[in-house]
Amino acid sequence: MSIEFLDPTHESGAAPFSLAKRLTTLKGATIGIVSNGKKGTQPFFDAVERELIERHGAAKVVRTTKSNYSAPAEAEIMTQTERWQALISGIGD
């Protein structure tokens, strides 16, 4: 005997988020780095910062750190992102 049943998933259509427009160059750009605050992010992002400036010509790298690495970034950080041309968000253990 056939059986009819309901879909258990959220059935949302497209994801509510989309990728930001890609930059064609990093030259002269202000780039933000949002760390989740774990110990391993420090040396990793130090190296990323150097690469962005020395190899790709970024004008400035702004480093920020979330206060809780398991929670979304605070509103103050999100406000800052509006002044950046690009953002790198990363975790580290």
């Binding site: 059986i3 258990p8 998933t9 959220h10 059935e11 509510p16 398991s70 929670a71 979304p72």
Partner: protein, 359 residues
């Protein structure tokens, strides 16, 4: 038998997409093929069964139970009911599922972090009040395992909801390194009948005799044994030692530890006149380590300059969750550690309570 199912058109107020399979086995395979189960068989969520849950809870299908804050995903009563039916819930179990998930959606619980973390916690649900006996829950034998139908299916419903509504499947949003068996189902009813202690929910502000749930982002139970003393202090020293072990081996940060106290140990505490508040206060004082102890555990590289600093397992005695549960014999107890300190806080909510209704 076929694993294919056909999409059909809805014919009632329920908004979920519908499928038709040739038979119950075909439906099972369809659910497995979509990744909609936890690996166990599910009860096909028919419209009739889902409506029965909603009617029992007096909830219209579209009622908004809450919004998952990180991805802004709305959680409706209908979708909770679909997953509850799949887990094996009867209509009378559904209000407990709704209360537990509503509690999980409260900001202090940090739902996304708790369910996505590599830390691998599960959602522990502690049930208090008359609903326990109404649903045939048992807080005695095998209390932290599959002790009875109601706790098993309610705990499982929460896991299926996380998988199907928030994509917390392994390797998707659930990034657990190890996880633990409580992720299948982790629900316990407090044994209020065999203890003079205040029920957990009442200690946490719910009126006496009201039914309630407490949810906690929880590690696996750490079971210990001490049947060689009748002294409250010595019994609780074993609890504190188990907490300290967790602080040494897992996380040093303070949080909502749960202490599960079965009857044999409880009897000694109760006979000596110790209340839950006394237990919490004693363990608060004893569950502390110095950071330098990490050197004994292979973590010397992160001791740094703070080796002499003392770390307490709790910010205050109030955050300790003391739960009376377990079978009548055996000098065992258990500590359930929080997922990574106090990033997620335990939330207690009365069943049927509205968290954002205007009074």
């Amino acid at each position: 038998m076929t694993t294919a199912a056909r999409e059909t058109q809805p014919a009632s107020a329920l908004g979920s997409k519908r499928y038709v399979a040739d038979d119950a086995m075909a439906a099972q395979e369809f659910f497995h093929s979509r990744g909609w189960t936890d690996g166990l068989p599910v009860v096909p969520p028919t419209a009739q069964a889902v409506n029965a849950c909603l009617e029992w809870a007096l909830m219209p299908p579209g009622q908004l139970v809450g919004i998952e804050p990180v991805r802004q995903r709305p959680i409706t009563a209908e979708k909770l009911a679909v997953n509850a039916v799949m887990a094996g819930c009867l209509p009378m179990h559904f209000p407990v599922v709704v209360a537990a998930f509503t509690a999980m959606l409260q900001e202090p619980f940090l739902l996304h972090g708790a369910t996505a973390s590599t830390g691998g916690c599960a959602i522990l649900i502690v049930v208090n009040g008359p609903v326990r006996t109404e649903l045939g829950m048992s807080g005695t034998f095998n209390a932290l395992g599959p002790s009875d139908r109601a706790t098993t299916v309610i705990g499982r419903a929460i896991r299926l909801i996380l998988c199907n509504l928030l994509d917390a499947r392994p390797g998707e949003v659930d990034r657990s390194t190890l996880g633990h068996p409580g992720k299948i189902s982790y629900c316990v009813a407090e044994d209020e009948e065999h203890s003079p202690w205040l029920p957990l929910a009442e200690e946490r502000g719910v009126p006496p005799h009201a039914s309630a749930v407490t949810v906690m982002a929880a590690g696996a139970p750490r079971q210990f044994m001490n049947e060689w003393t009748t002294q409250p202090e010595e019994i609780l020293d074993t609890y504190a030692a188990e907490i300290r072990a967790n602080m040494r081996h897992y996380s040093i940060w303070p949080g909502n530890y749960a202490l599960v106290v079965p009857p044999q140990l409880r009897a000694h505490l109760e006979r000596a006149g110790w209340s839950k508040a006394d237990v919490r206060e004693y363990v608060f004082r004893k569950a502390r380590i110095r950071r330098s102890e990490w050197r004994d555990c292979g973590k010397g590289s992160v001791v740094g300059e703070r080796g002499d600093r003392e770390y307490a397992a709790f910010g205050s005695p109030d955050v300790v969750l003391v739960i009376a549960a377990g079978g009548p014999a055996g000098g065992f107890g258990a500590v359930i550690a929080p997922w990574y300190g106090n990033k997620s806080r335990a939330v207690t909510l009365a069943i049927g309570a509205c968290v954002d209704c205007e009074i």
